[in-house]
């Protein structure tokens, strides 16, 4: 009997090979489904390319992401808004960005993180349960948006948080402690849900390495993240984390604190080749992503994309521990024929005959 997508993902996480690789493809901007102001949607161009939207029904995203309250960005309220944390955002331009952090100086004077109860309004559970029920055969990962590092920089500004980490370590560690308690309280609510995993979003890396530096990351981030991951595991759920950029330097640490699935695996970032990471750590963690969004998807030829997908399936899929995906959602600038190559190659490896 054939596996469900959910069973396929779980088998991969348990490092068992499956009939074909579970996969995900997302379309649109980085920000997720809420913001679609960035030009023609790739999926709509594919509708035109294939003569109808019927192809969409063939795509079986193995992992359903459910975002709860605190993604922090809501384009419906206009181009600029202030979130419940007190951060002012601008969302009509690319990338959506922080206009003004909640904390202008490294001080907590007059500041408290919002009460977690107020973040989850009366209907959130009902709505979330409803969303979970829509895809019973999929692996469901519930996320809460900005992770530990992300929340820290949104509260202090990107430069501010980086500088605090170096020059105001006491303040910064207290900030991280407060965020950790806050996010543990959020996780407490999420693990009550009938989901398979909790999806963290925390961009520790940039193109060249770990933003804070590996040692500082180990000192400041690792023990706090370990507590969050442990809570998720205690509830019998998997931990997944998005992180684009280069995290090769801290991969052993990420594994040590119990991350089950590392999402994005951006191959263009320094030392972040999925094949190299697989060789070193493939039996200890599951990679989700790896098809390059900075190079091959926008600039490659369709046949190169198809060849790379075959290579990912062959090499990354060996021994399990892999979920096929572009490193980022297909961006608006993706040429239609390249987007089609991604979709077709993904479906082909799944044995789906394409019209």
């Amino acid at each position: 009997m054939s596996l469900t997508s959910r069973e396929r993902v779980i088998a991969q996480i348990q490092h068992r090979e499956t009939d074909y690789l579970p996969y995900t493809i997302r379309f649109g901007s980085d920000v997720g489904e809420q913001i679609e102001a960035y030009g023609t949607d790739v999926a709509e161009r594919l509708d035109t390319c294939y003569g109808s939207p019927a192809w969409r029904n063939l795509v079986d995203n193995a992992i359903t992401r459910i975002n709860t309250h605190s993604l922090g960005v809501d384009a419906s309220t206009g181009s600029i808004f202030t979130d419940v944390y007190g951060c002012k955002w601008r969302v009509d331009r690319r990338p959506f960005h922080l206009e003004e952090p909640a904390l202008k100086t490294p001080s907590f004077k007059g500041f408290n993180l919002p009460d977690v109860d107020t973040l989850f309004n009366a209907r959130w559970k009902e709505k979330t349960l409803h969303a979970i029920k829509q895809t019973p055969d999929h692996f469901v990962a519930v996320g809460f948006g900005f992770g530990l590092w992300e929340r820290a920089w949104t509260l202090r500004g990107f430069d501010g948080a980086l500088m605090d980490a170096a020059s105001e370590p006491d303040f910064f560690e207290e900030l991280l402690d407060r965020i950790t308690e806050h996010q543990l309280a959020i996780i407490e609510r999420l693990v009550e849900l009938p989901v398979d995993g909790v999806l963290f979003s925390d961009d520790w890396g940039y193109q060249r390495g770990v933003l804070l530096g590996p040692e500082r990351w180990r000192r400041m981030m690792k023990p706090r993240l370990a507590r969050m991951y442990a809570r998720v595991h205690a509830a019998g759920k998997y931990t997944l984390s998005h992180c684009c950029g280069s995290v090769a330097d801290i991969m052993p640490d990420i594994i040590e604190i119990g991350l089950d699935v590392y999402e994005s695996v951006q191959p263009e970032a320094r030392d972040n080749s999925p094949y190299e990471l697989k060789r070193k750590y493939g039996d200890k963690i599951t990679f989700w992503g790896g098809l390059g969004s900075q190079s091959i998807i926008p600039f490659g030829r369709p046949e190169e994309i198809k060849a790379e997908v075959s290579k990912l399936c062959r090499e990354m899929g060996r021994g399990g521990g892999y979920i096929l995906s572009p490193a980022k959602p297909l961006q608006p600038e993706t040429p239609t024929e390249n987007a089609a190559a991604v979709v077709e190659a993904f479906l082909q490896q799944a044995g789906v005959t394409f019209p």
């Binding site: 690319r94 980086l162 500088m163 060249r208 530096g213």
Partner: protein, 217 residues
């Protein structure tokens, strides 16, 4: 080298924004010229930051606090440098190209360049080609530095170079490019003079391009 300059370089390296301006003043009070304080203290410290950043011994937080300390030191020193007509290492117009609002990488390059004695004119983000052209005409820089963080805005670099050519000012400047998705090959394809993968390398590139510039002028 004088002790105060050594100490100044050390404090700059450590990102001590409180002490750096005090030491700048002390060095001046001891009779050192503004140029000596800049070169022997601030730039020496910042060069060490750049080398150690590139070698993976320092990270973005250290670079940012060093740049903040540099800024504090320059606040004291800049008026005196202007007064005494000290030439900068070179003049750079920099900006993130049209359609792209990313500014952290570009700011980091700007800070490192300033920390290395360059004069920078920052056009900000979302900078259309004609704004680069106007800035080149107005400021007559040696270098134009462009940043792009989106694969969709990278072609803005080519358009800017083309616009500089059309305006007849391309030969007057060296063009350098950078940003996460940008590569050496792309830089060559669009006719840029150089590509740097990080802020420290950008300083070295700027210095190398200035060397060529001097030989040419």
């Amino acid at each position: 080298m004088s002790n105060v300059l050594n100490e100044l370089a050390d404090k700059l390296y450590a990102g001590d924004a409180k002490t750096v301006p005090v030491l700048v003043q002390r060095a001046l009070d001891k009779g050192l010229t503004p140029a000596e304080v800049l070169q022997g203290g601030l730039i020496t410290g910042m060069d060490r930051v750049g080398v150690d950043f590139r070698n993976g011994e320092l990270f973005v937080p250290e670079v940012l606090i060093a740049a903040r300390a540099m800024h504090a030191g320059m606040h004291v020193l800049r008026p005196l440098l202007v007064q005494s007509n000290v030439a900068s290492a070179g003049k750079v117009v920099l900006g993130t190209v049209a359609g792209d609002l990313h500014d952290i990488g570009k700011n980091l390059v700007g800070m490192m360049l300033e920390g290395s004695g360059f004069e920078t004119i920052d056009l900000g983000t979302d900078t259309p080609p004609n704004q680069f052209v106007d800035a080149v005409k107005t400021h007559q820089p040696h270098l134009v530095a462009m940043s792009a963080l989106l694969t969709t805005t990278m072609p803005g670099m080519r358009r800017t170079i083309d616009a500089l050519t059309e305006a007849g000012v391309r030969a007057k400047v060296k063009v350098m490019v950078g940003g996460a998705p940008v590569t050496e090959r792309f830089a060559q394809e669009i006719g840029a003079d150089g590509y740097a993968p990080d802020a420290a390398s950008a300083v070295e590139l700027a210095r190398a391009l200035m060397g060529k510039e001097h030989r040419r002028r």
